[in-house]
């Protein structure tokens, strides 16, 4: 579980996060949504430790990240899997080497053991027999699946995904969403997804956090989002006519 208390972050005296408090539960897929510039990416990067926050607390399973020593921070980071928006696969490595990378860096396993583990996760993301391909030879959807495989190869406790289905066609996007949800349940990990894809919200949003101008405007589940009367949320989520109709049908039922 990850607990965030009164998180504040500013750049050049311009406040980006203005005191966010929330919790992300284990075994659930949580989504952070919000318009461009709402602070989603800064929030996610602060949780990942890529931005140092100005105030507040980030607590990973009862351990405040600020009170951890270097070794504990390293241990925590090796327990975090991350899927970046652009996949962030290492261009100079094959798919197999990319997935094997965290094992090589942090685990004391033999080459055969590592290869077995890589094959297991590649099979899980339906990429068996793609071991020797280079990332440039893989499609956008395949690259995302490799990124997911790399993120889960050393059985992390936390999975962070920054817009995992951006740039993908709707069908592949749903496949990726479902894969993340299934993996979260199988491994019983805390998953946080940064997204502005409304399909993801409706499909896998067990917990949804809506950010607006650096503050937490609303939080709830995908069921709650249909019923909310928060104007900012409804304006954002139901901006298309299709979703307006879907909401109307849901409320009529």
């Amino acid at each position: 579980m990850i607990t965030v208390k009164n998180l504040k972050k500013s750049f050049d005296n311009k406040p980006i996060l203005k005191g966010i408090s929330c919790e992300f539960e284990k075994g659930k897929t949580s989504l952070i949504i919000g318009q461009t510039g709402s602070g989603k990416t800064v929030f996610l990067k602060s949780l990942l430790g890529l931005h140092k926050h100005d105030e507040g607390q980030i607590i990973f399973d009862n351990k405040d990240i600020e009170l951890m020593n270097e070794r504990q921070k390293m241990e925590l980071k090796s327990n975090i899997g991350t899927v970046f928006q652009g996949s962030a696969l290492f261009d100079s490595m094959t798919i197999e080497e990319n997935v094997m990378f965290p094992l090589k860096m942090f685990e004391n396993m033999s080459s055969d053991e590592m290869l077995d583990r890589v094959n297991v996760v590649l099979k899980r993301v339906e990429l068996e027999n793609s071991n020797k391909k280079m990332p440039s030879e893989a499609s956008g959807g395949m690259q995302k699946r490799v990124a997911i495989a790399r993120a889960i190869v050393n059985n992390p406790n936390y999975l962070f995904c920054d817009e995992p289905n951006s740039g993908l066609d709707p069908k592949t996007a749903i496949v990726i969403d479902n894969l993340i949800k299934e993996i979260t349940e199988e491994l019983n990990i805390t998953t946080i997804i940064n997204s502005h894809d409304m399909n993801s919200v409706m499909e896998i949003g067990e917990k949804i956090i809506f950010l607006r101008n650096g503050i937490l405007e609303w939080e709830g589940s995908k069921k709650n989002i249909f019923k909310t009367d928060n104007q900012a949320v409804t304006d954002f989520v139901y901006s298309s006519n299709l979703y307006k109709k879907v909401r109307k049908m849901y409320l009529n039922q």
Partner: protein
């Protein structure tokens, strides 16, 4: 202010390069790969340039001393001194700033743009140690390249001198052996080590701290070439003043 800020950032980068070292098993592979990319893959261009520029230096020296009271061996002597003292260590390093320097900046810069450096950081890996340190170690072999440049430069000079009819082979060889000062080799290799460190770290700095997209990667490569060349020229002056002045 920006200049001082960048100097500070560069020093911090050098300091961070020695923190949290990457696993030796992985580092060994990185060093071998960077040795291939920076040293082995430069052998062709270095050999080609050295041989022909050695030839040109000899022809120019021979033309300006023909028909005078200068002894025949002077062409060989002057070619050796020019190549060992200045051409091989300094001019080759400026060429390498263009070849290896821009390769280092663009490869690290592309990793920055495509979030690969962020991916390393969130895994708890010291990305500066992972990316820069193996390049510094790989370029410890740089004096080996300079030795080849010295040999081929003098060989090119000899070929041009003898087959161009400017002097005889015996006179050229006599020139190469005349008044040889072993310390000049030490001086050239000290310079090579310093330039190797500059070649590994200055382009890495420009790639690592770049911001923006693909266009900025190109701009960072150009900037890196300029600053690497400037650093080489300035350190060349300082080392020469300290060791030969």
């Amino acid at each position: 202010m920006t200049f001082l800020h960048n100097i500070g950032l560069y020093i911090l980068m050098l300091q961070k390069m020695f923190h949290k070292p990457t696993k030796w098993k992985v580092m060994k592979e990185l060093i071998l790969k960077d040795t291939e990319d920076t040293v082995i893959n430069s052998l062709g261009i270095i050999s080609f340039v050295s041989f022909f520029i050695g030839g040109v230096i000899t022809i120019q020296l021979a033309l300006s001393t023909t028909g005078s009271f200068y002894p025949d061996y002077l062409v060989g002597y002057a070619t050796r001194e020019t190549i060992i003292l200045e051409f091989a260590p300094t001019i080759i390093s400026i060429i390498m700033a263009g070849k290896v320097g821009s390769f280092i900046t663009s490869s690290i810069g592309s990793m920055r743009v495509t979030e690969q450096i962020d991916a390393l950081e969130v895994m708890g890996i010291n990305s500066i140690n992972y990316l820069v340190f193996p390049k510094v170690i790989a370029l410890l072999l740089y004096p080996f390249l300079i030795s080849i440049a010295m040999f081929l430069g003098i060989l090119g000079g000899m070929v041009a001198c003898v087959y161009g009819g400017y002097s005889t082979m015996n006179a050229f060889i006599e020139g190469i052996q005349t008044d040889f000062t072993p310390f000049h080799m030490t001086y050239a290799f000290i310079k090579s080590f310093v330039f190797a460190f500059i070649l590994a770290t200055v382009p890495s700095f420009h790639g690592y701290y770049m911001k923006g997209g693909a266009l900025e990667v190109g701009k960072a490569s150009t900037k890196s070439f300029i600053w690497t060349s400037v650093s080489i020229v300035v350190f060349n002056f300082l080392i020469t003043q300290m060791l030969l002045g």
